[in-house]
């Protein structure tokens, strides 16, 4: 791939990844949103977080199949318990890493 082609590629990727990040912020920060929409948006963060994590814990990536008992899931149990008990972000990250590391070491 030539330098010009590569510049074109990254510029194109830059535009299409930037616009979805920018447009809703600009559009929705300057007007009064309907109450139902705000209520719906409030539920979006827990939904997105859960949707991002779940396949990592319960599925394998290639090929995509359901798996129960991945190291990711096993490490998630003490990590979740720790997060619920302490509500410490730093502690949870460290506990998660150690559990995951330990599990790989055991196998």
């Amino acid at each position: 791939m030539s330098v010009a082609d590569y510049l074109l590629l990254t510029a194109g990727m830059g535009v299409v990844t930037y616009l979805p990040r920018l447009l809703p912020l600009v559009a929705f920060s300057r007007r009064q949103l309907p109450a139902w929409f705000v209520e719906w948006l409030e539920l979006v963060p827990p939904a997105i977080l859960s949707a991002l994590i779940a396949p990592t814990l319960f599925a394998q990536a290639s090929p995509r199949v359901f798996v129960l008992g991945k190291a990711d899931l096993l490490a998630a149990l003490p990590t979740l318990a720790f997060a619920l008990k302490t509500r410490s972000l730093a502690g949870t990250v460290v506990v998660g890493m150690l559990c995951y590391w330990g599990l790989h070491y055991l196998r």
């Binding site: 990254t10 990040r21 920018l22 920060s29 979006v44 990590t79 990250v93």
Partner: protein, 233 residues
């Protein structure tokens, strides 16, 4: 001025789990890119202009298999559409903020910065300058680690210290912070279920958008139903 400095410091302090998590991912992207024949400047340029892990991994793989520019750009667009949802949810916390600030902030909206900023905003007292700092700290780490990966990635043992789990651990804790009542818990459970099902049946990462929208709507209906139920004698 001193106050701005404090906000920047708070942003950096909140950014460390993100930076820790980005490092191994950035390094591995650098390694793959180098194997795919990209130069350090090409990797660095893409990290600066695109700043989207998933899209960049896919782009490197697609370039390796000789895909056309429109094909790669279209895929990047699809992969990053989920940021529409995140940016919409964030907008509530930036009422009447200048377009210039939003343009700078939007550049750093990622799954990770969204999750941390959203929790901080909900807890209260989170200044938008701290949020911007956090976004840019993530971006800097991403840039440095992807370029470093081209040079040194091969010498780092895989799975060292369980660092691959840093982002999962962070997401788990941030999810816990988001569970502010039964409706939120129900929403998260629906999202987890839908996400796994959609992950198995839909191509790419459409599962994030589909599962989030379905779950937020289900949670919304549940909330309305509960309120309605209580309103009756």
């Amino acid at each position: 001025m001193a106050q701005t400095f404090d906000y920047v410091k708070a942003g950096l302090k909140a950014a460390w789990p993100i930076c820790l998590g980005y490092f191994p991912i950035g390094l591995s992207l650098g390694v793959l890119a180098q194997k795919g024949g990209l130069f350090p400047w090409q990797v660095g340029l893409m990290s600066l202009l695109v700043f989207a892990g998933g899209s960049q991994f896919i782009a490197v793989a697609m370039l390796g298999s000789g895909a056309s520019i429109p094909a790669v750009v279209t895929t990047a667009f699809m992969v990053n559409l989920r940021h529409l949802l995140m940016s919409s949810a964030l907008a509530v916390h930036f009422p009447g903020v200048s377009r210039r600030f939003l343009a700078l902030f939007a550049y750093g909206v990622t799954d990770e910065s969204f999750a941390v900023n959203m929790v901080r905003f909900n807890q209260g007292g989170w200044d938008r300058r701290s949020a911007l700092t956090l976004n840019q700290a993530g971006n800097l780490t991403w840039f440095v680690s992807t370029v470093a990966g081209v040079y040194v990635g091969e010498f780092i043992p895989a799975g060292a210290l369980g660092i691959d789990y840093a982002l999962t651990g962070m997401f788990i804790c941030l999810l816990v912070f988001q569970l502010r009542g039964p409706v939120f818990v129900a929403t998260a459970l629906v999202a987890a279920f839908c996400s796994v099902v959609a992950f198995l049946w839909l191509p790419g990462n459409a599962y994030v958008i589909v599962a989030s929208c379905v779950a937020a709507t289900a949670g919304f209906i549940l909330k309305r139903a509960l309120r309605h139920g209580r309103g009756k004698p």
